[in-house]
């Protein structure tokens, strides 16, 4: 058997090979992770640990394998689950006080599919409250830390944010306390934390994974995806997470390909679009330089670099901040203190609703509920919400036109490296700008992936971002794999 720390540093692909070869058991692999989790609690990456369940699932995996009945590449693989996924009998809070004590009596489709594939649940991960945030600082359970530290600069020595909203998932994978994790991405919540923590984060096409049992934020944007240390691991996880689900009418009924088989390393002739509008004022030169480096890597591998235009890029973020809060204000109406979670008794039923929601939601969630309620209210609906949905069509049309000229689009993932906890807290719009490069693909429902590609001058990870046409995850993953190979990014440990 390999040493414990060696087991937590494996990729999913290598761990799967080790399990298949009998080098170690699922129980040993899981126990190594439970030990590492206990030693890394200062990160606050997990909001709930489920060691008993993990070991039981690992034993079941070992038993299956012993009978020659292993389920595939995820059987026996320990994973972390974002706390936005409902898990049967296990605390599921969305990082919110208002879901205090909520233990669902059902399992989300995506997590059920992972368990059906043999994966092991280590616990639930910390996140921004209701997935609203880009730094994991709005969680009721306190901030989660990025395992990376800046070697120099203003942030040197400080505790850094892991990004958000899937901050706990990204931190756990980067810190080797999970082999992979689920996340959800509404405007960048998988990709931006992936970039901040130096790991791979993939948002598949809207409709690729079922949203059933995922606590809803903005239903026309929310999509589940994997956070992993390699592109191949992301491909393996997505294969188990994706698929049509009769319980989610927006999930799409097309076959799930073998994503890992798409990683051929051959991108000769692939047309890579570079959108002029992503060159934005204020982007640090080192991020511009990394973007140029990414172009060079792909060109050297035989791709053709094509200049493209996505004219409505600058409007994607303000469009998002109408559409997402509008949908959130509707989705979060269900938290009324009656059916689950927190209740604060008032003088009458209305007072009970108002006091429960005032006590249960944090400031950012309240802000977005208020914005959403405002833009949907009588007299403002046309000017704000309807106009935003029209601009959203424009944004999607920009991408549609671009696919005539290119097969994938390359951009930076985020306009900065990870920043210190406490920064950007006074100015909501400064925080929102974290997602400036990730939101346009979300508005158009397109698959996108962040690949760790280099380090900032202060020694912090920076990601490059690939966007593909709808359901072209295989092409996107093939390019991401080539980028990953060329970048030779060294993980934290």
């Amino acid at each position: 058997m390999a040493g414990t720390s060696d087991l937590t540093r494996l990729t999913i692909a290598d761990a799967g090979a080790g399990l298949a070869a009998g080098d170690f058991s699922a129980r040993e692999l899981t126990q190594a992770h439970l030990d590492a989790m206990a030693a890394a609690r200062d990160l606050n990456a997990y909001s709930a640990e489920t060691p008993d369940q993990a070991l039981a699932m690992a034993d079941a995996s070992d038993a299956r394998r012993g009978q020659g009945d292993a389920q595939g590449p995820l059987d026996g693989i320990p994973l972390a689950i974002k706390d936005l996924f409902c898990t049967e009998g296990v605390l599921s809070t969305a990082g919110s006080h208002i879901l205090d004590g909520f233990k669902p009596t059902y399992e989300s489709t995506v997590t059920q599919q992972l368990w059906d594939a043999g994966a092991v649940m280590l616990g639930k991960t910390n996140m921004d409250e209701f997935a609203m945030g880009s730094a994991n600082v709005t969680s009721h359970y306190g901030p989660c830390l990025n395992p990376w530290k800046a070697a120099s600069g203003d942030a040197a020595g400080k505790d850094l944010v892991p990004g958000g909203s899937s901050g706990g998932s990204a931190s756990a994978v980067a810190a080797n306390i999970a082999l992979g994790a689920t996340g959800t991405d509404t405007g960048g919540s998988i990709r931006q934390p992936g970039s901040f923590c130096g790991i791979v984060g993939m948002k598949p096409t809207y409709g690729r994974c079922s949203r059933w049992g995922i606590i809803a934020f903005a239903s026309s944007l929310d999509q589940a995806g994997p956070l992993t240390r390699t592109v191949r691991d992301g491909a393996l996880m997505l294969g188990a997470m994706a698929g049509y689900d009769p319980k989610d009418s927006t999930s799409v009924d097309i076959p799930v390909p073998d994503y890992a088989a798409a990683l051929t390393g051959d991108i000769r002739g692939l047309r890579v679009g570079i959108p002029a509008e992503y060159r934005m004022d204020g982007t640090p030169p080192e991020i511009e330089a990394l973007w140029q480096q990414g172009r060079d890597w792909l060109r050297d591998a035989g791709a053709e670099i094509v200049d493209i235009s996505l004219p409505h890029t600058k409007y994607a973020l303000p469009t998002y901040y109408i559409v997402a809060p509008a949908e959130a204000s509707s989705n979060l109406a269900r938290y009324d203190g009656v059916r689950y979670g927190l209740r604060v008794e008032g003088e009458d039923i209305i007072d009970t609703y108002e006091k429960t929601r005032a006590a249960g939601f944090g400031p950012e969630v309240k802000r977005r509920i208020m914005i959403g309620t405002y833009v949907l209210s009588a007299g403002y609906y046309d000017a704000y919400y309807l106009q935003a949905q029209r601009v959203r069509t424009r944004i999607a049309d920009d991408f549609r036109a671009a696919w005539d000229k290119c097969d994938v689009i390359l951009t930076p993932t985020a306009p900065s490296a990870a920043f210190a906890i406490g920064e950007k807290m006074d100015d909501p719009i400064a925080m929102y700008l974290n997602d400036i490069f990730t939101v346009p693909a979300s508005m158009a429902g397109l698959p996108a992936i962040s690949v760790p590609a280099g380090l900032s001058a202060d020694g912090l990870p920076l990601g490059l971002h690939l966007i593909g046409p709808a359901f072209a995850e295989e092409t996107m993953l093939r390019a991401a794999d080539v980028l990953e190979t060329a970048a030779e990014f060294e993980g934290r440990q």
Binding site: F102, Y206, G207, S220, P246, S249, T250, V252, D253, H312, Y315, P318, T319, Y321, I322, S329, A333, D336, V338, R339, G341, L342, R343, E345, G346, D348, I349, I350, T352, E354, K355, R357, A358, F361, K366, R367, I369, M370, I371, T373, Y374, S377, A383, Y384, L386, Q387, A388, Q389, R390, V391, R392, T393, R394, A396, P428, I429, M443, A444, G445, A470
Partner: protein, 95 residues
Amino acid sequence: MALDTDTVRRIARLARLHIPDADLEPLAGELSNIIGWVEQLAEVDTDGVAPMTSVVETTPHLRDDVVNDGGYPDRVLANAPDAEGEFFAVPKVIE
């Protein structure tokens, strides 16, 4: 457009959020900043552009019109802050 405190109070009521009077003014400022920022969308020419209704072109399945779930009030009520018998319990809503 700047939101005044009366508007914030009205929206809070619609959203069923209790906002203490002292918080109305600062919240009005924060929300006005965000609304002012999103108002740049007005400059986009959207004449003849249909509002997006579905981001992925797909034809949803129709399901059979049959009862295929339910019949377990104990599970439905399992997380209720207050329940009586097979019902959620709430403060009295009629005189």
